[in-house]
Point group: C2
Chain length 421, copies 2
Amino acid sequence: MALASTETTTTSLDFGPAVALSCRECGARSPLGPDFACTECFGPLEIAYEFPRVTREQIAAGPANIWRYRALLPVPADVASKRNMAPGWTKLVKADNLARELGLRSLHVKDDSGNPTHSFKDRVVAIAVEAARNFGFHTLSCSSTGNLAGAVTAAAARAGLDACVFIPSDLEQAKIVMASVYGGRLVAIDGSYDDVNRFCSELIGDELGDRWGFVNVNLRPYYAEGSKTLAYEIAEQLGWRLPEQIIVPVASGSQLTKIDKGFKELVSLGLVEDRPYKIFAAQAEGCSPVSAAYKAGHDVIRPVKPDTIAKSLAIGNPADGPYVLDIARRTGGAVEDVTDAEIVDAIRLLARTEGVFAETAGGVTVGVLRKLVAEGRLDPDAETVVLNTGEGLKTLDAVADHARPTAVIRPSLDAFRAALA
Amino acid sequence: MALASTETTTTSLDFGPAVALSCRECGARSPLGPDFACTECFGPLEIAYEFPRVTREQIAAGPANIWRYRALLPVPADVASKRNMAPGWTKLVKADNLARELGLRSLHVKDDSGNPTHSFKDRVVAIAVEAARNFGFHTLSCSSTGNLAGAVTAAAARAGLDACVFIPSDLEQAKIVMASVYGGRLVAIDGSYDDVNRFCSELIGDELGDRWGFVNVNLRPYYAEGSKTLAYEIAEQLGWRLPEQIIVPVASGSQLTKIDKGFKELVSLGLVEDRPYKIFAAQAEGCSPVSAAYKAGHDVIRPVKPDTIAKSLAIGNPADGPYVLDIARRTGGAVEDVTDAEIVDAIRLLARTEGVFAETAGGVTVGVLRKLVAEGRLDPDAETVVLNTGEGLKTLDAVADHARPTAVIRPSLDAFRAALA
């Protein structure tokens, strides 16, 4: 790790407004390199910036993808002209039908199934690709619960990098096919995501992984910043306004912490008015270590062995779990979980009210939204946003039993009449 | 049909710049109604417009969806504020890797998998929904090879309309699940798409289908106009310039004719410079009635019984086939077909070069592109666009045999080393 850092900083790096790595625990600063843990205290590193003056007009004049926010991301100024997937600027769907059904005044669905590989992971990977280029890495890698593997292999194909990605062997077929169709190597590991993740940490210290950019390990500080764009887009699409309540899924917890960071940056840059917002974290009951800690009033997360249909959220030992607890408590939100049956119901509810077909992670957030409203823990009059971070086509089995033809008939009016009766 | 037309024209219709229906064969005009065949000659009806003056700046100031072109479509001026899927403005991917591999100077992929239900059908359905609203229809319906059924049921859910859609019973599971998850009725018919289509034509004359808007039958003139937005977007995304060569898939042929119409409108409105373009039509060998007619030098299409993995293009009796022949010949293009094996190869080629995972219809267009280049029938120096009209996740089986993990291992470096060896 230290070696790679020394090698690469001799070349000319261009990370735009990013100026250093900074420890989230002790605040110690280090140069921008492929590093992820503080050499002082082993705390997680994140990006420190010196932002230029940025106006709404400059942003609005940018492309219809995350690069409209390039001045707020660790990427070079000419990033939009490079070969990358140009994700983001997904729809913020005004969900009047669902709002009415739940009894909410104002509800939007941020629908990240519109990204190139149909999950929010395209956002984070796009930033990691620029970091990999900066550090001269030839291979893009990751541990993945499925969506990330596809996002990495697709982005590597477009960028002209090699890919070697690692997944648990029990994933949905759609995610396996998607992760391998773009070329590169897809290695399935007999074990849980947490086993895959531990394996990748070993690999990164081995010569086998030399010059590899593991997007969610040694490129993690860069990668994670991609999730800030969800916050930026939601605020801009609301008309440069922070939502009052937002429901975010929790796997590692990184996305939620970066949405909070993104909102705070918009305030400090004067791009939105400072108003209170509550962040609600959503987990599947079958993998709810953060929700369990929240309910027990604990500050530490006790790892669990996941058992849920929401495989993209099945991280039993979430790295950013403690930060999620902090943010939910600080903002007046909450952490809640729903059962697999509630996830399926919520997928179907969102589909039949808004025409949005979410993957299981979207069932988790919409299910938690519904639960919180029913229990009176959400303000029905406050402007609310719920995230759908993935695509229903990738988790068909979740709803397949409920999504069959109403009837199978011969092509005749009589047969149709009989089927209707 | 005539009755419905009389009833509805008594209410106040708002179709924006559209002023009449016009017969594509004899030119006879009739009022805007839910009609699809000329009462004089039974020719197909299309929309006649009186366009306002439209500037590039007005369009660019519009939303990032097809409604930026609302002044050129049969929709009310306030369409963007209504509950619809707001499709379009999908990516025009600069395909430098694929271009290099094929030996082309300039190639773009218009990637319509980015639409809300991940096919170009969201474009046409969005226009049909406005027509259904105008005519006071309560139920949205269609005959479909799969993608359209999902687009219709999703759009109906968002718009608050009932849906009842018809598909052949042998479709891909992903398309069946998607078409039913949004609610409404999904009726599978034992037979081919052409059987389904004939059934719908019967149903439309029956009281069972009263007040139903069949998007591709009695709303077809409106519906079909949605495909013009592909032409508009490609030209705008190229920097307000027509491409010199474009490869378009052919099912019914409607999409191709409307892309040609869209290009011509842009020229006549002064939005782009008039320059020659060639339109190439792509079919699967297992359903290539238009390609067969083209190669034989015929003007009429002889219907076939489809047998191809490209089910979304499996229309054996394509209504607009003769117009496709005209356009391919007039513009100096061609009609070509590829085998199922070539389709699979082309899907994989596009995925590993550009990170775009196409459905089988995209394999058809990219396969035809490759074939035409190899045979010297495309100009390698001309600006070329190839369409991907759907999503690989919906036709997983096509590539599943070629898209498996490279290895399945225990989580250890030794196991990984052994797998690499």
